[in-house]
Symmetry: C2
Subunit: 290 residues, 2 copies
């Protein structure tokens, strides 16, 4: 069985997620070689001179050649496209993993890789609203939950190697089917993004008539709206590849909001208090992992 220490790891996409992983792997000598593949030459050079990778290239084919582990860390639909491209260039036995935020479409594309390749889906549950190589940092994955979505064809050895990598950077692997992952992240990631975006639009509407709103906005608005500043391209891919689950969560959310609205409109204070107490207790009881 392959061990991480013996592996050449090729990371495709050196934004926040890919570059942070590259830094963890290379700076802690967790594997034999870390390669970085990025579209923009500036990023390739940045990553190389920052010591985030041992080798860097903007040629996908060269980058993945003879790698033991290939990790795709680009927006979701770019991952799907690249999976169609890299297949013929991979060595038999290569572990192909990704870091995309939705899993169903990616797992379907992973399943199209040539036989002999070991595919597994992955999604670290962490991030920041700032994107790109400059936002990358070591230790980003420490204590984070990292979902792994093996395919029926994924061998136990491949799952072990993916698990070793996840644990090597301090994350906690959780194995889930792709569809179940997508349903859950629609609630705790994609819906919050849309809620934050709508909140910013609502505030901007007020601000158009009275710009003082931006002066008064403080910690409540800051946190509730934070994820709206996330990379649009990344989130567009997420939303478009998880539409049914996101629409279902949006509908559930709209129903909750309308319920609260109705109670406030009716002045039904007792029911409103009971309802707010439930969410107060649930949120106060939940402890974020980091």
């Amino acid at each position: 069985m392959k061990r991480l220490a013996d592996c050449r790891v090729a990371i495709v996409g050196l934004g926040l997620m890919g570059a942070s992983l590259a830094m963890d792997l290379s700076q802690n000598n967790l594997c034999r070689e870390v390669r970085g593949i990025a579209r923009r030459t500036a990023t390739v050079l940045d990553a190389f001179f920052a010591g985030a990778v041992d080798l860097a290239t903007n040629d996908l084919t060269t980058g993945v050649m003879a790698a033991d582990i290939v990790i795709l860390a680009t927006p979701v639909r770019t991952i799907v496209d690249m999976l169609g491209e890299i297949g013929p260039h991979l060595w038999p036995g290569t572990l192909v993993m990704d870091m995309g935020s939705t899993k169903s479409e990616i797992c379907a594309a992973l399943d199209q890789l040539p036989p002999g390749i070991q595919p597994i889906g992955g999604h670290p549950m962490t991030g920041k609203e700032t994107a790109g190589f400059d936002a990358a940092e070591t230790g980003l994955y420490r204590n984070a939950t990292w979902v792994l979505t093996p395919l029926p064809r994924t061998s136990p050895d491949a799952l072990c190697l993916a698990t070793e990598l996840v644990e090597a950077v301090g994350a906690r692997p959780v194995v889930l089917p792709a569809e179940r992952h997508d349903r859950l992240v629609a609630a705790i990631s994609h819906l919050p993004f849309l809620a934050a975006s709508a909140l910013v639009h609502t505030t901007a509407q007020v601000g158009a008539g009275d710009p003082a709103v931006w002066e008064l906005a403080a910690g409540g608005f800051r946190d509730t709206s934070r994820v709206a500043a996330s990379d649009t391209r990344m989130f567009l891919d997420i939303l478009m590849t998880n539409r049914p689950a996101v629409l279902a969560q949006l509908d559930a959310y709209l129903e909750q909001l309308s319920g609260l609205r109705g109670l406030l409109q009716a002045g039904d204070e007792a029911t409103l208090q009971a309802k707010l107490s439930v969410s107060q207790a649930a949120r106060a009881a939940w402890k974020p992992r980091r």
Copy 2:
């Protein structure tokens, strides 16, 4: 003209806001005396032995007697009730201020104080989701915006004294009419609270069928839902005393959300992208004061 340094300041309510203010005033010797008035005897003793106040009592009448400045720092409707009580016990010229999160009803009640009393509304735009004396801290108001809502009867000297107090704890005073304040905070504070509460309810619904949702929830959910953990009683008062403005913002928010939902449902990627880019840019451009 009275200076803060010569004033006996009585703070009614020693929760997060009142106790943090008491600590700033007493630990930096900003005034002649800091008195704390709390309903619960345990809080009275905690505040006294923690050195947050020079004097402490649970008797409202004794507490406000012969004070130069009285600051009410309880939930909004308790402030309104207490204003009806304390009037006869105040000395002429006393500055009566509050720290309530909505201002229209409070300013109406402030206006009922006996002639000779100097009333002014106040609202520091800061806070935490944790409440109570134990959550209090020095420096809570540093760099915060602190809205002041003078009444027509408020004298320039009284406004100056309130301004001196606000600036003494490092906050930035912003003078606004009560109704305008209430309209603005409906957007950046009350709506985010309801949005967060609805988000927690939506996630809890998913969690009832699949508890793994709480394991996957990370930074996005953490921040977007944070204010839902705020004190229910405090927020119930806020919502019930600002219903028309909150309902208007809720309607604007529901419209924004429905708009995003429609674009996603229709797969209208170009318009969705344009819409998300606007909120992305607006949120990334806004710099929180702290």
